[in-house]
C-alpha cells in the first residue's frame, strides 16, 4: 500500500515517493564541545568571520580596479615587427627559461618539455613521491628543499625576464602601447576631442565595375594592385580604388604608358594599344571617392 500509512510502520514515506518522512522536524546541530580545542560550527559562526575576510579582500580588490585601469594597447597588427612580445607575468619564468642556450635551439625539447614536464609532473604526483607519514616541512628536508629551490628559481627567472623587458623598452625607446594609448586618450580628452584606437578603414567603392575596361584591368593590373584593387600596403603598391582623386587623366596615361617609381610600376606601352590605355585611364580617372 503506497498510500495511507500505518503509524506502527518503521519507515514512513511521503506519499508514494521515496522521500522518508522525518519524525523530528528540526535537525539539531551537533555539539562540538567534545571536539579537541575550540572547534566551532561552520554555519553561522565561522562563515560570518570568513565573510568579513572576504569583504576586506573585496574592498581592496575594488580599490585596485578603480585605481588601475586594465591595460589595453592598440589593435593586433600581424605586420608589426617592432613589437616586443610579453606574456602575462605568471608565464614569465618559463619564457625566460626558454631564452637560455641550454634550453633553446638544439636543446629546446629539454627546455620546453623535459624540465617543465618533470617539474610539474613531480608537483602533480607529489603525494606519491613524498609518501612518508611526517607532515612538518622541516622534518622532510628533500621535498621542502626542492620546493624552496623551485620557488627561488621561479622568482629569479621572473625578475630577470621583467628586468630584460624594461631594458629592451629603454634601448628601443619604446613606451608600452597601453600606456601610450592611455596618454593619447588623455590628451585628446583635455582638448575636448574624442579618441579611438580603432582604425576605421575608409572603404572606397569601385566605380563602374561592369565597364569593359575592367577586363583589361583584370588581365594586367591585379597582379600587383590586388584582386580587390586595394593595392598592397606592405609592398607600397597603391590602391586603384580612388586613384581618380589623386591623378588626372593625363597623369594616368603617362603612368600606364611609361611606368613610374623607377620601374616599380612597369611601362605598358608594349603590352597595350594606345586605345586600350585610353580606355582604362578613362575608367581609372572615374575612380573617385563617393561624396
Amino acid at each position: 500500500m503506497a498510500h495511507g500509512h500505518k503509524s506502527d510502520e518503521k519507515i514512513v514515506y511521503v506519499g508514494d515517493s521515496r522521500v522518508r518522512k522525518r519524525s523530528n522536524k528540526t535537525i539539531v546541530p551537533p555539539d562540538y564541545t567534545a571536539f579537541p580545542g575550540k572547534s566551532e560550527a561552520f554555519i553561522p559562526n565561522f562563515l560570518l568571520k570568513e565573510w568579513l575576510v572576504g569583504c576586506v579582500v573585496l574592498v581592496g580588490f575594488l580599490v585596485l580596479t578603480i585605481a588601475e585601469a586594465p591595460p589595453l594597447g592598440y589593435p593586433a597588427d600581424p605586420t608589426n615587427t617592432a613589437f616586443i612580445p610579453m606574456p602575462d607575468w605568471y608565464f614569465l619564468f618559463l619564457y625566460q627559461f626558454l631564452k637560455y642556450p641550454y634550453a633553446s635551439g638544439d636543446y629546446v625539447v629539454l627546455g620546453a618539455v623535459a624540465v617543465p614536464g618533470v617539474a610539474f609532473g613531480a608537483l602533480l604526483l607529489a603525494p606519491f613521491l613524498d609518501t612518508g607519514k611526517e607532515r612538518r616541512f622541516y622534518r622532510r628536508p628533500v621535498a621542502s628543499a626542492l620546493m624552496v629551490l623551485s620557488l627561488i628559481a621561479c622568482v629569479y627567472l621572473t625578475k630577470v625576464s621583467w628586468d630584460h623587458y624594461q631594458y629592451e623598452l629603454k634601448v628601443t625607446n619604446t613606451v608600452p602601447e597601453h600606456i601610450e594609448r592611455e596618454e593619447k586618450a588623455k590628451e585628446a580628452r583635455e582638448k575636448g576631442q574624442s579618441f579611438s584606437a580603432v582604425k576605421k578603414e575608409e572603404s572606397v567603392e569601385i566605380v563602374d565595375a561592369n565597364d569593359p575596361a575592367m577586363e583589361i584591368v583584370k588581365a594586367n593590373c591585379i597582379g600587383c594592385h590586388a584582386v580587390d584593387l586595394k593595392g598592397q600596403k606592405a609592398l607600397k603598391v597603391p590602391a586603384l580604388r580612388g586613384v581618380g582623386d589623386i591623378l588626372t587623366k593625363e597623369e594616368l596615361v603617362e603612368t600606364v604608358t611609361n611606368g613610374r617609381a623607377g620601374g616599380a610600376m612597369p611601362s605598358f606601352k608594349e603590352k597595350l594599344t594606345a586605345e586600350q590605355i585610353d580606355q582604362i585611364t578613362t575608367w581609372l580617372s572615374k575612380q573617385k571617392k563617393a561624396q
Binding site: 575576510v53 610539474f120 602533480l124
Partner: protein, 223 residues
C-alpha cells in the same frame, strides 16, 4: 512565510540534510584565525574560490559586449571599457582577478605543501587541486588573447612557438590550438570557446570534486 514555504519543500524533497551536511561541520581550532592568527594561511583556499566566483560573474557580464571576431574584438573591448557604464570596472575586475586568482591559488598550494596536507589519505584531492591549477593557467593563456591587441597577439604567437617545439606532436598541437596555420580569426574564436565553455566546465567539475573530497575527509589535522 519563508519558513512555511521551506517546510513545504522540505517535507516533499527532504532538502534539509543536504545543506545541513555542509553547514554542520566543525571548524577545528588550528585553522581558525580567531584563535591563532597564523591560521590565516588557511584562508587562501576560500579566497581562491571567492575570486573564482568574481571571475565567473564578471566574465558573464563581459560576454554581453565582447565579440569574438578579429574585426570587432578589439573595438568591442575598447567600447566596453571606455563607453559602457562601469564597463572599465567590470573588465578591471576580470583582468586583475585573473592575476589575483593565480596568486591566491599559488599561496593555497604552498600552504597545503608546507603543512604536508597532501599526504594520505588526501592524495587525490592534491592531484585534483593541481589539475585545477593547470586549468587556471589555461584560462589565463586563452583569456590573454581575447582583447586582440598587439600584446595579446604576439604573446599568443610566442606560446604557439613553444607548443610547436614539442617533439613529434608539436606541429599538430599548434595547428589544433590555432585552428589553422596562423594566429588569426580561427584562433580567436577557438580561444574564446575554450576560455568561456571548455575550461570553465572542466573547472567547475574539478572544483566540485575538490569540495566533495574536503567535506568527506575534513580538513587536515594540526601539525
Amino acid at each position: 512565510m519563508f519558513k512555511a514555504v521551506y517546510n513545504w519543500i522540505d517535507e516533499r524533497l527532504d532538502v534539509a540534510p543536504l545543506w545541513r551536511d555542509v553547514a554542520d561541520h566543525e571548524v577545528p581550532e588550528h585553522v581558525n584565525p580567531a584563535h591563532h592568527f597564523s591560521a590565516f594561511v588557511y584562508c587562501f583556499g576560500g579566497l581562491t574560490f571567492f575570486i573564482t566566483v568574481i571571475q565567473i560573474l564578471s566574465g558573464m557580464f563581459l560576454t554581453m559586449y565582447f565579440v569574438p571576431d578579429i574585426n570587432n574584438a578589439y573595438a568591442s573591448v575598447d567600447y566596453l571599457q571606455h563607453k559602457v557604464a562601469f564597463g572599465g570596472i567590470v573588465r578591471g575586475m576580470h583582468h586583475w582577478g585573473a592575476s589575483l586568482v593565480i596568486v591566491m591559488m599559488f599561496l593555497h598550494t604552498l600552504r597545503v605543501f608546507f603543512t604536508g596536507s597532501y599526504k594520505a589519505p588526501r592524495e587525490m584531492n592534491w592531484v585534483v587541486g593541481m589539475l585545477i591549477f593547470f586549468i587556471m593557467l589555461g584560462l589565463g593563456f586563452t583569456g590573454y588573447l581575447l582583447p586582440w591587441d598587439n600584446k595579446a597577439y604576439f604573446a599568443t604567437k610566442v606560446g604557439m612557438q613553444i607548443a610547436e617545439s614539442v617533439p613529434y606532436i608539436g606541429v599538430y598541437l599548434k595547428e589544433l590550438m590555432q585552428g589553422g596555420t596562423i594566429v588569426g580569426a580561427q584562433t580567436l574564436t577557438r580561444f574564446f570557446a575554450i576560455h568561456v565553455f571548455f575550461l570553465p566546465g572542466a573547472l567547475l567539475a574539478l572544483m566540485a570534486a575538490h569540495f566533495f573530497m574536503i567535506r568527506k575527509q575534513g580538513i587536515s589535522g594540526p601539525l
